[in-house]
C-alpha cells in the first residue's frame, strides 16, 4: 500500500524526498564541516599556542593603564625602561618550580659609534679648470622617506697644483694643525684650508648646528700626499653616526630561550660566567674593564644618505685661497651658488659592515675615524632615554612631544673627538622624557699631569650575531622580543597608510622618537657592574629619576616553563599558578603571554620637524589570552551551528511532511470512513515516511559526498553515512505531529473541505494585498511553519554574522584570530548558504501547497478576468508577508541569541540583525519563482469543471 502511495503521489513523494535529502545532506555537511572547522581552529591555536616565552615579568610601574584595560602587553618599551628588577628577584624567579628559563634583559643605554662614508668625486671634476670648489650637501632620508633632514655641507677644494701638508709624524704637540700650502705654477705658496677651530665644545656638536657640522677638504694634484703620507684623492668623508642600544643579557638563558648562540655569524658567543677582562694601558694610572660584547651584523635604522653635489662659482676658489678664518670661509662658501653636477643615494649597510669589522678587529684597519689609536672602543659616554610620553586616546595612545635641551648630546659620539657628530636626526621631534647622559668617572681616580686620561670601561667585541636568526617563535603568537627585533609600525588609518606609501615606519637614529631600535650591542649580566657600579659613571641631569638604576638594573625577565604546556584547562591553570607564585615571591608584574597573539594598537605620532606628518600608527602589541578565547568561541560556535542546522532541517522536513500528509487528508478520511483505525492509518503513513526518509538519506549521503568532493571540504565519509539514519529519524520525528493530526478518529473532519474551519474576519479583503494576507490566515499553521523555517534561517544568518563579528571582536585584530577566522569562514559561508537554501525551499513549499490547494480559486480568478500579473502579485505578496513575519522573528531571535553568545548587544550585532531582516524578505521573494511558474501550468478548465 505504501509503495503504491509513493507511486501514485510521485511528485509529492519526490518533493518530500528532496526536502529531506537536502536537509540531511546540509546537516551532515554542516555538522561535519563545523566539527572539522573546530578541529582546525583548535589545531591552529594549539600549534601557535606557545610563544618564545610563557610569562613576561616586568616592574609594576612599567605597565600602562591601557594594557590593563584591554588585556594587552605593549611592545617596544625596552629602550625606555630604567630597570626595576633586582638580580636577586631574577634569581628568585629562576628558583620557582617549573621555571625552565628566566632570561633577563638589562638596558644599559645608547652608545654612539661613527661610520665614515667616503664619497669619491674624481669622476665629477671639471678637467678644464685649474682649481674648483665642490659642495656636497648631505640629507638624511628617514621615516619611510617622509623626513628629509639636511646636514652640514662638506666642501672640497681641488687644485691641479701640488699641495704640501705637514705629515703627522712631524707635527708638534700644542701647536695646532698648520694649514696646507698650495704650490702654484709660478712657485708661489699659498696657505689654504685653515684649520678648524673649536668654538665651544657643547655648541660645536649640537645636532642642529649645521655650520659646525660642515667641513672643508683640500686636495692637491700629482705628488700631493695627506698627513699620513698617502696620495690625495678628490673625496669627502661624511660621518654616519649609529646609536647602538646596549643591553646586558644572560648568555645561557638567551641561548635557551631564543637560540642566540646559534645566531652568531662571526667571532664567538659568550658564556654566562664571562666577566669583563681587566687591562692596563701604559700611562693610565688605573686599570680598565673590557666588556665582552656581541654586535648585530646589520643596522636596524631606517636611514638613507642622499648627497647633492654642486660645483660652486669660480669666486669660491678665491675665497678658499684668501681666507684665513675657517669659520668665515665655510660661512662664505655656504652663500655661494653652484651648478648641480651629481646626486647620489647611499645605503648604510656597507659602511656599517665595515665599521663592525673594525670593531671586531680593532687597529688592524687603522682608519682615522675609528678610535684605533688605542685599539680600544672606550666607553666614555652613553645616553639613556625614558619611556615614550603617551596619553590614552580612544582605543589607543597619543604620543606627545617632549622637548629637551639638545646640549645633552654635547660631547658627541665615541670619545668626543672633533668630528664625532651625534646623529642629525636627534634634532627631530622628541616624544620621550628623561634623556640623560652618563659619563665615565674612572671611579674617581685623580689624574696627574702626564697621565693618560681614558675611561675605565671599554667594549671588546667577541662576535657578531644576526638578529634574523634568533628564534622569535610563530608569527601568530609572536611576543615582544625587543631584544632583537622591532617590526616597526604600519599606518593605522588610510591617510597614514597613504602617507607611508604602504611602508612601515621603522626606528631611526632619533632615539627620542617613538620607535626604538632593538639592542644592537649585547653584553653579559656579569659585565654590568663595570657600568652600574656606583662611581663608574656620573649622570646629567643629576636628578634621581635620571640616574642609572644600579640597584635593580634588569628591565624585563622572560620566563619559559618546563615541559609541555597544553591549551587545556589544566595546563592553563598550572601556568596561572606559577605566574601567581612569581608575582607573590617578587612583587613584580607577571603577564601570561602563553596563548597570546599580536594585535595592533593605534598610536598617534606627532608630526616631525623635517616633513613627517601626523601619523596614526598601528603598533604591534600583544593581546593576551587569545588562544583560550578562540578555542572557547570555536566550541560554542560548533555546538551552535549544529543546533541551528538541526532546527532548520527539522522544520523543513516537518513542513514537507505536513504538506505531504495534508495533501492526502481526504484519502485518509475515506480510509477512516472505511473502518481503518488510527493506529493503522499512522502505521501506513509512518511506513511511507520511513521509506521516503531512507531514500532521502541515501540521496543525501551521495549529495553530501559529491558536494564535499567538488568544494574540497574535509569531511570524513563515515560522517556522511550518518545522513541515512538521520534522514529516517528526522522524517519520522518530523512526521509525528502531522501523522497524529491526520490519523485522528474523526473522519468527517478529515474529509471536510479545509476552508470550513476558518473564522470570519473583521475586514473584508477588497484589495489584492489584503486578499493575500487573508489567504495566509486561512492556513495559519502552514504559514507559521514556513515563517518559522525562515525565522530559523534568518536567526541563523543573524547569529552567524554576529558570531563572525563577535568571534573576530573577541580577538580584535590579532594575527591568530585573523587566521582562525579565515579558516572558519568556509563553514560559515556554507552554513549561511544552506540555511538560506532551506529557507527558500520551505517558503516555496508553503506557496506551492497554497497554490495547489487553492488551484480552483486561481482558476476562477483567471476565468473572471484577472490577469497573470495580478495572480503573480497575489503570490508574491503572500511570499513577502511570510518573509516579513519570518524575517522579523528571525532577526529578533538571532539578535537575542547572538547577544547571549557575545555577552551583550553590540552595534555590529544590531547591524547584522538589520541586514538579516531584508535578507529574509529577499529569500521569500526568490522562493516565489517555482510557485509562480506553477501558476501558468494550472489546468484551469479542468479545475473549474471538477470543482
Amino acid at each position: 500500500m505504501a509503495l503504491s502511495q509513493w507511486r501514485v503521489r510521485l511528485r509529492r513523494s519526490l518533493a518530500l524526498l528532496s526536502m529531506i535529502a537536502v536537509a540531511v545532506a546540509g546537516f551532515t555537511l554542516l555538522t561535519g564541516a563545523a566539527a572539522t572547522s573546530r578541529l582546525d581552529t583548535v589545531g591552529t591555536v594549539a600549534a601557535n599556542y606557545r610563544p618564545v616565552y610563557d610569562l613576561l615579568v616586568r616592574p609594576k610601574d612599567a605597565v600602562l593603564p591601557l594594557e590593563r584595560q584591554r588585556n594587552l602587553v605593549q611592545s617596544g618599551q625596552l629602550a625606555g625602561m630604567r630597570g626595576g628588577i633586582t638580580v636577586d628577584q631574577w634569581r628568585e624567579i629562576q628558583a620557582v618550580r617549573d621555571v625552565s628559563v628566566a632570561a633577563p634583559v638589562a638596558v644599559v643605554g645608547y652608545v654612539m659609534r661613527t661610520v665614515p662614508v667616503t664619497i669619491d668625486l674624481s669622476d665629477v671634476l671639471d678637467p678644464t679648470v685649474e682649481r674648483q670648489v665642490l659642495r656636497v650637501q648631505p640629507t638624511w632620508v628617514t621615516d619611510a622617506g617622509l623626513s628629509q633632514v639636511p646636514d652640514g655641507p662638506a666642501y672640497l677644494y681641488v687644485t691641479r697644483n701640488r699641495l704640501d701638508v705637514v705629515p703627522n709624524s712631524e707635527l708638534r704637540s700644542g701647536g695646532g694643525l698648520p694649514p696646507p700650502e698650495e704650490v702654484d705654477a709660478d712657485g708661489q705658496r699659498v696657505k689654504i684650508c685653515p684649520a678648524t677651530e673649536t668654538i665651544g665644545e657643547d655648541d660645536w656638536l649640537q645636532p642642529t648646528d649645521l655650520r659646525a657640522r660642515s667641513s672643508l677638504t683640500c686636495v692637491g694634484g700629482v705628488g700631493s700626499t695627506d698627513r699620513e703620507g698617502k696620495a690625495m684623492r678628490p673625496a669627502v668623508t661624511l660621518v654616519w653616526t649609529v646609536p647602538f642600544l646596549m643591553a646586558a643579557v644572560d648568555p645561557d638563558s638567551e641561548a635557551a630561550l631564543a637560540g642566540l648562540d646559534r645566531a652568531v655569524t662571526s667571532g664567538r658567543y659568550f658564556t654566562s660566567a664571562e666577566q669583563p677582562t681587566s687591562h692596563r694601558l701604559e700611562g693610565m694610572p688605573y686599570p680598565y674593564s673590557m666588556l665582552p660584547i656581541l654586535i648585530a651584523d646589520r643596522p636596524r635604522v631606517d636611514t638613507t644618505l642622499d648627497v647633492d653635489v654642486r660645483r660652486l662659482d669660480p669666486r669660491s676658489v678665491d675665497l678658499v685661497r684668501t681666507s684665513s678664518d675657517d669659520q668665515r670661509l665655510r660661512a662664505a662658501l655656504g652663500g655661494e651658488s653652484g651648478m648641480p653636477v651629481t646626486q647620489r643615494s647611499i645605503a648604510i649597510e656597507k659602511p656599517y659592515r665595515s665599521m663592525v669589522d673594525r670593531m671586531l678587529n680593532p687597529g688592524e684597519l687603522g682608519v682615522e675615524y675609528d678610535l684605533a689609536t688605542a685599539n680600544t672602543m672606550w666607553l666614555h659616554t652613553f645616553w639613556t632615554v625614558g619611556p615614550a610620553n603617551t596619553t590614552q586616546a580612544g582605543d589607543g595612545l597619543r604620543a606627545e612631544p617632549a622637548p629637551y635641551d639638545l646640549k645633552i648630546w654635547g660631547k658627541g659620539a665615541d670619545d668626543g673627538g672633533t668630528s664625532r657628530y651625534v646623529p642629525r636626526e636627534l634634532a627631530d621631534t622628541s616624544v620621550r622624557d628623561g634623556v640623560a647622559v652618563h659619563r665615565n668617572l674612572a671611579h674617581g681616580y685623580q689624574l696627574k699631569t702626564g697621565d693618560v686620561n681614558m675611561p675605565d670601561a671599554a667594549l671588546g667585541a667577541v662576535g657578531t650575531f644576526d638578529p634574523a636568526k634568533v628564534s622569535l617563535g610563530s608569527a601568530l603568537s609572536a611576543v615582544p622580543m625587543d631584544t632583537y627585533f622591532n617590526p616597526g609600525a604600519g599606518g593605522a588609518d588610510e591617510a597614514s597608510r597613504q602617507a607611508l606609501g604602504g611602508k612601515r615606519l621603522s626606528p631611526n637614529a632619533n632615539v627620542t622618537g617613538l620607535l626604538s631600535q632593538p639592542p644592537l650591542m649585547l653584553t653579559t649580566m656579569q659585565a654590568l657592574p663595570a657600568i652600574f657600579d656606583p662611581g663608574a659613571y656620573s649622570t646629567e641631569p643629576a636628578y634621581p629619576e635620571y640616574q642609572l638604576n644600579t640597584a635593580a638594573p634588569i628591565s624585563v625577565v622572560r620566563v619559559r616553563l618546563a615541559g609541555d604546556v597544553g591549551i587545556d584547562a589544566v595546563s592553563r591553570e598550572r601556568v596561572r599558578v606559577i605566574a601567581e607564585e612569581i608575582a607573590r615571591r617578587t612583587g613584580l608584574q607577571v603577564d601570561i603571554t602563553l596563548g597570546s597573539s599580536p594585535t595592533a594598537v593605534t598610536v598617534h605620532y606627532p608630526a616631525g620637524d623635517y616633513g613627517r606628518p601626523d601619523l596614526a600608527l598601528a603598533e604591534p602589541w600583544v593581546q593576551k589570552g587569545v588562544a583560550a578565547v578562540l578555542v572557547r568561541a570555536a566550541d560554542r560556535k560548533s555546538v551552535l551551528l549544529s543546533i541551528l542546522v538541526l532546527a532548520v532541517c527539522a522544520l523543513a522536513v516537518l513542513n514537507a511532511n505536513t504538506a505531504a500528509i495534508r495533501a492526502r487528508r481526504t484519502e485518509l478520511g475515506v480510509l477512516a470512513c472505511l473502518g481503518w483505525h488510527r493506529r493503522q492509518l499512522a502505521q501506513l503513513m509512518f511506513t511511507e515516511i520511513a521509506g521516503v526518509g531512507l531514500a532521502a538519506g541515501i540521496a543525501g549521503t551521495l549529495f553530501a559526498l559529491a558536494f564535499a568532493f567538488v568544494f574540497g571540504l574535509s569531511i570524513a565519509w563515515t560522517h556522511t553515512l550518518l545522513a541515512i539514519p538521520a534522514a529516517v529519524a528526522l522524517a519520522l520525528l518530523a512526521g509525528g505531529w502531522p501523522v497524529w493530526r491526520a490519523a485522528r478518529p474523526d473522519p468527517g473532519q478529515t474529509i471536510r473541505p479545509a476552508a470550513l474551519g476558518i473564522a470570519v474576519r473583521r475586514r473584508a479583503p477588497r484589495r489584492v494585498a489584503t486578499l493575500a494576507l487573508a489567504n495566509l490566515a486561512r492556513t495559519p499553521g502552514r504559514t507559521l511553519l514556513g515563517a518559522m523555517s525562515l525565522t530559523i534561517g534568518v536567526a541563523a544568518l543573524t547569529m552567524l554574522l554576529a558570531i563572525t563579528f563577535a568571534f573576530r571582536g573577541a580577538v580584535t585584530g590579532t594575527l591568530l584570530g585573523e587566521v582562525v577566522t579565515l579558516q572558519a569562514r568556509t563553514v560559515d559561508h556554507i552554513a549561511v548558504a544552506v540555511t538560506i537554501v532551506l529557507g527558500i525551499v520551505s517558503v516555496a513549499d508553503v506557496l506551492y501547497l497554497n497554490i495547489s490547494e487553492r488551484a480552483a480559486e486561481f482558476a476562477l480568478f483567471g476565468a473572471v478576468g484577472w490577469t497573470d500579473a495580478v495572480l503573480r502579485r497575489l503570490v508574491v505578496i503572500e511570499a513577502i508577508a511570510v518573509g516579513v513575519i519570518g524575517g522579523t522573528l528571525g532577526a529578533a531571535a538571532g539578535l537575542g541569541a547572538a547577544a547571549a553568545f557575545a555577552g551583550g548587544i553590540t552595534t555590529p550585532i544590531v547591524w547584522c540583525a538589520v541586514a538579516a531582516l531584508p535578507t529574509g524578505v529577499a529569500v521569500s521573494a526568490v522562493s516565489v519563482v517555482v510557485p509562480v511558474a506553477m501558476l501558468r501550468r494550472l489546468p484551469t478548465a479542468q479545475l473549474l469543471a471538477e470543482g
Binding site: L756, I758, A856, V864, L944, G947
Partner: protein, 221 residues
C-alpha cells in the same frame, strides 16, 4: 456571437488525442438564451470554456460582441473574460470571503468608476440574497451559493453569460429557481445566455437548444 469551424482536442497518453469539440459552427443573436444539451463527455463544458476563453481552441474562429476571441492573448484575453460571466456547476465561491466579497471578487484588482460594494449589494438583492451578504459560503445552502455565483458573474455587466450545468449540484426545486433567475436576468439585462445542461426541461425553457454528441453539434432547434 459567432463560432466557425471550432475544434479542440486533448492529448491522451499513448494514444490518439481526444477530440472534445469538433468543427463546431454556431451563430447566436444578442439576448438569446440557448441551452447546450448532450450527454456527459459530449463536449458541452469544453465548448463553454472555449467561448469563455478558458481554453484555447486548436482551430476555428470565435467572435463575441465584435471581439475575435481566438485572436486575443495576454491582457486582451483577461479583458475579454471580464466582459463575460461564468456560472459553474460547483459554484467556485471563495471560502474565505463573504457572499458580498465573493460577488466583488472579480473586481478586487481593478479600479472601476462605480462603487463596487453598492453594485454587489444590488446584485445580491437581485438574486434574493440581500440579507445574506455577510455570510461565508460555508453558511449558505447550495442554491444560495449558486445565486451568489450568478451575482458574481454579473458584476462586470457581461454581454454573455455562460452557465455550465448550473443546477447540476442542486435539487430540482432549487435548480428550477436558479434557471428562473438566469432567464429573468436575461430578460432584464438582455444578456446572451448559454446554459450547458443535460436537463430537457431547462432546455425547453430556453429560446434555443443545441445538442452535442461526441464534440459535434448534432441538431439546432
Amino acid at each position: 456571437m459567432f463560432l466557425k469551424g471550432v475544434r479542440k482536442s486533448f492529448p491522451l497518453p499513448g494514444g490518439a488525442p481526444l477530440v472534445a469539440v469538433n468543427d463546431v459552427d454556431l451563430s447566436l443573436d444578442a439576448g438569446t438564451a440557448v441551452a447546450l444539451t448532450g450527454p456527459s463527455g459530449s463536449g458541452k463544458s469544453t465548448l463553454l470554456h472555449l467561448i469563455g476563453a478558458i481554453e484555447k481552441c486548436d482551430e476555428g474562429v470565435i467572435e463575441v460582441a465584435g471581439d475575435r476571441v481566438t485572436g486575443l492573448s495576454g491582457r486582451s484575453l483577461a479583458a475579454y473574460r471580464r466582459r463575460i460571466g461564468f456560472v459553474f456547476q460547483r459554484f467556485h465561491l471563495l471560502p474565505a470571503l463573504t457572499a458580498l466579497d465573493n460577488v466583488m471578487a472579480p473586481l478586487i484588482p481593478f479600479r472601476v468608476e462605480f462603487d463596487k460594494a453598492a453594485r454587489a449589494r444590488e446584485l445580491l438583492a437581485m438574486v434574493g440574497l440581500a440579507d445574506r451578504a455577510a455570510a461565508l459560503p460555508s453558511r449558505l445552502s447550495g442554491g444560495q451559493q449558486q445565486r451568489v455565483a450568478i451575482a458574481r458573474a454579473l458584476i462586470n455587466q457581461p454581454v454573455l453569460l455562460l452557465a455550465d450545468e448550473p443546477t447540476g449540484s442542486l435539487d430540482s426545486h432549487t435548480g428550477t429557481d436558479i434557471v428562473d433567475l438566469l432567464l429573468r436576468l436575461r430578460d432584464e439585462h438582455g444578456t446572451t445566455l448559454i446554459i450547458a445542461t443535460h436537463d430537457a426541461d431547462i432546455a425547453a425553457r430556453c429560446d434555443r437548444a443545441v445538442h452535442m454528441r461526441d464534440g459535434c453539434l448534432t441538431s439546432l432547434d
